[in-house]
Symmetry: C2
Subunit: 501 residues, 2 copies
Amino acid sequence: MSTQNNYTTLVRHLQRCRDIAGALRLLEWDQETYLPDGAVESRASQIGALSEVLHEQHTAPHFLDLVDELAERLGELSFEQAVDVRETKWQLDRERALDAALVRERSEQRATARSVWIKARRDDNFAALAPHLEKIVAMERRVAAAIDATRDPYEVLLEAYEPGLRLDRLETVLGEVRAGLQPLVARIRAVNERAPWPASPLLGDFAEDKQLAFNRQVLTAIGFDFANGRIDASAHPFSTTIGSDSRLTTRYDRSDLGYALYSSLHEAGHGMYEQGLDPQARGLPRGSACSLGVHESQSRLWENQIGRSRAFWDYLLPVAKQAFPALAPASVDAVCLAVNRMEPSFIRTESDEATYNLHILLRFELERALIGGDLHVGDLAQAWREKMRDLLGVVPPDDRQGVLQDVHWSAGEFGYFPTYTLGNLYAAQLLETAATELGDIDAVVRAGEFSVLLCWMRDRIHRWGQTWRAAELIERATGSAASAAPLLRHLERKVEWLEQR
Amino acid sequence: MSTQNNYTTLVRHLQRCRDIAGALRLLEWDQETYLPDGAVESRASQIGALSEVLHEQHTAPHFLDLVDELAERLGELSFEQAVDVRETKWQLDRERALDAALVRERSEQRATARSVWIKARRDDNFAALAPHLEKIVAMERRVAAAIDATRDPYEVLLEAYEPGLRLDRLETVLGEVRAGLQPLVARIRAVNERAPWPASPLLGDFAEDKQLAFNRQVLTAIGFDFANGRIDASAHPFSTTIGSDSRLTTRYDRSDLGYALYSSLHEAGHGMYEQGLDPQARGLPRGSACSLGVHESQSRLWENQIGRSRAFWDYLLPVAKQAFPALAPASVDAVCLAVNRMEPSFIRTESDEATYNLHILLRFELERALIGGDLHVGDLAQAWREKMRDLLGVVPPDDRQGVLQDVHWSAGEFGYFPTYTLGNLYAAQLLETAATELGDIDAVVRAGEFSVLLCWMRDRIHRWGQTWRAAELIERATGSAASAAPLLRHLERKVEWLEQR
């Protein structure tokens, strides 16, 4: 067969995988939204069966041979075709490095640890989780060694979420974040000591159906495409893409208008990225998201960079007042203050735009030490408390609000946390560039002309898929290498504003 | 491997097929309920991919060998195990009789004819559909011959929906229906000539969310299990089972309370049958519905036998009046008259409980003649009009309201229509038996004690799955062979009541 025919066969196979993966994601989406309680067991069985089918497709010998053959003839392919082959091979090589027994053991360990974690967190019992975490750390070290024994194991694990990212680059930017945030945290603490925060206008009584309609209106305005997407309710907000439609969920808190609004803006950022991928290349690397960090940059852009800006509330507050007459007395100032409240706290997911990144730094430093063998799981809870004191100046009263708060490690996800802060960095850097190129971005936002910004993101980020790795994508989009400086400038301005109030 | 080990392997394979089929049904359910408009194409691709995966599982050589081997050692299996092997082999033998090229051609023909049918019906242009129908008739004759060339081809096709049903048995009972209904139709026509029907109390303005809550209340009352089921809205009502949960849909007509109510009762009958199958045997023949006719008996039982009875409205009208104050002036008599209106008409799906069966007889006689070679597609539209005059005494003014009204033939479904009337027969016969055994069934219904009847159906019908073929199942449940007499007695009573008003 000619190389072109082989490439066509590859595309068909990847499209088949894409379709099976789409069905799998629908099973998962439905489980979180509409599945009747009694059907949980039967759903688990369906998800298991389809995961197996997908795995068989990914490891079919004829497919592996095809990819290897194509990878040796990249010169005979177009630039775009070569991207698809390069990224497919990169992914497969990682998967092939792990034998079936290891994969099964890993997945069983994770399933066990996750259910132990639920109980351990409920009971504030880190000791119950510790032996499972030890096994998981050992397993991840084995996995890293199997993939590439010549490199730092943490870097190998990190690449599962951020392909091509070198550990020294990550340490450099996270070091900048650490250095830049330390003085800011002191200033945030001073702001909190000076005066209590006024009551938030977004707290009150907001009927769920009204919130639902309002959120749809906001998402439509920022450019989320409901002809290729949905928003539904679930216990924990998430987003997923099923073939060509992007589905978001949120949770409505009757007493807090902000909860669903900000979670919707966040998830819609993810969804709009997926909606902006090349539809012709759906299921191929060129039509797939670049990395978790880049994905997160799009969600954080709309949630934080735009969603917590004064210009956004200049636009949104009149709209919100039409939907919720109770907001009539609220000023833009008061709402902005409420959505930009900053204060060191224990829980990452409830923390503010600035201190959030310190929660990530803490996890990065601890998980690197765990994987590097410099920290033992037995000392983890104590190390957590010490780092909280160092970085945030607060110490959680128990492990529920400390080391037990996140599921990631119990799920074996080492190297995942840094992508959240990378997303924040990229978002700030992208918006700074967009502002330079598009002129007065505040005026654009205030006028509700969000499509200008969305089109810019489509052009610079979305449409490229995995054509470039994240570092190159960001550099091409912004003209300079990824850096913490734009995020720090953004947060510095916010803190200054809080101080001057 | 021992026969017992082989049986265990068979069960695992069938469970895997069940799980993949569950995912496929979720893709289809979602397409009719929540899929964004823009994702139709990508959904078709997912359904195609999963259908292929399922087909590969059904035709995997090791699976076929396993079934053949087990079928030769039925004596080494328990009674229940032997049922699973017997029915699996019966199904596989039918599938194996068709080579892959034929299956593909058949499925392409059907897809084409269905889309041509949509346009042909819209344009009232039977001539546009005719050549496609001709191909489909020829194809179905080829299919029947490939499965069993020694038998009447119509009987072979019929068995796809009603395994084990002999054509002479079907002709006997449908002959009884024809003979019994002819005089009834004359009396129905006389009722209509005597006086116009009064306005229905169920027509008015009934808000959709109120109807939704009311329908949930009614379905909960009759025993539909919402912990293992759902009801949603779709353009055309249907029911499906995804693993262990049964999902119904309905369509809410603001101006007609009856539409959603009766379609919900119908679909809930299907759903409660599925919910009553043996959960331990889910995905195996013992845990699968017996036949389409038996399935339809459960839907027609709740829709017609119960749902249009006076006792049911004695129970329901006070409930309905609480939900809809506008119903306050309505009497049980007036509502019963409205939901039992009978009148010969053109459209099967809008016809009444009695004349419905004549619509089926017409289709049965025509499709038998088409498959038997006694009627040409070119003469079908004319034959339709003549049979309408003979059976119902009315002639549709165009083919949209005649031969073009149903999709079944364009979808290649020959032998499907009779199962609707079989369902009506079985429902009447089952309820007659239940009434004998359970005492005053009207009192049970009037008191809303539906679980008494549902438990009886669970015991006599649901839990057996495919343990017995339909004829034996009905005979075991009722003590006598399936017959048209109970249905005719039921309809005779209804017409008599209409005459006496």
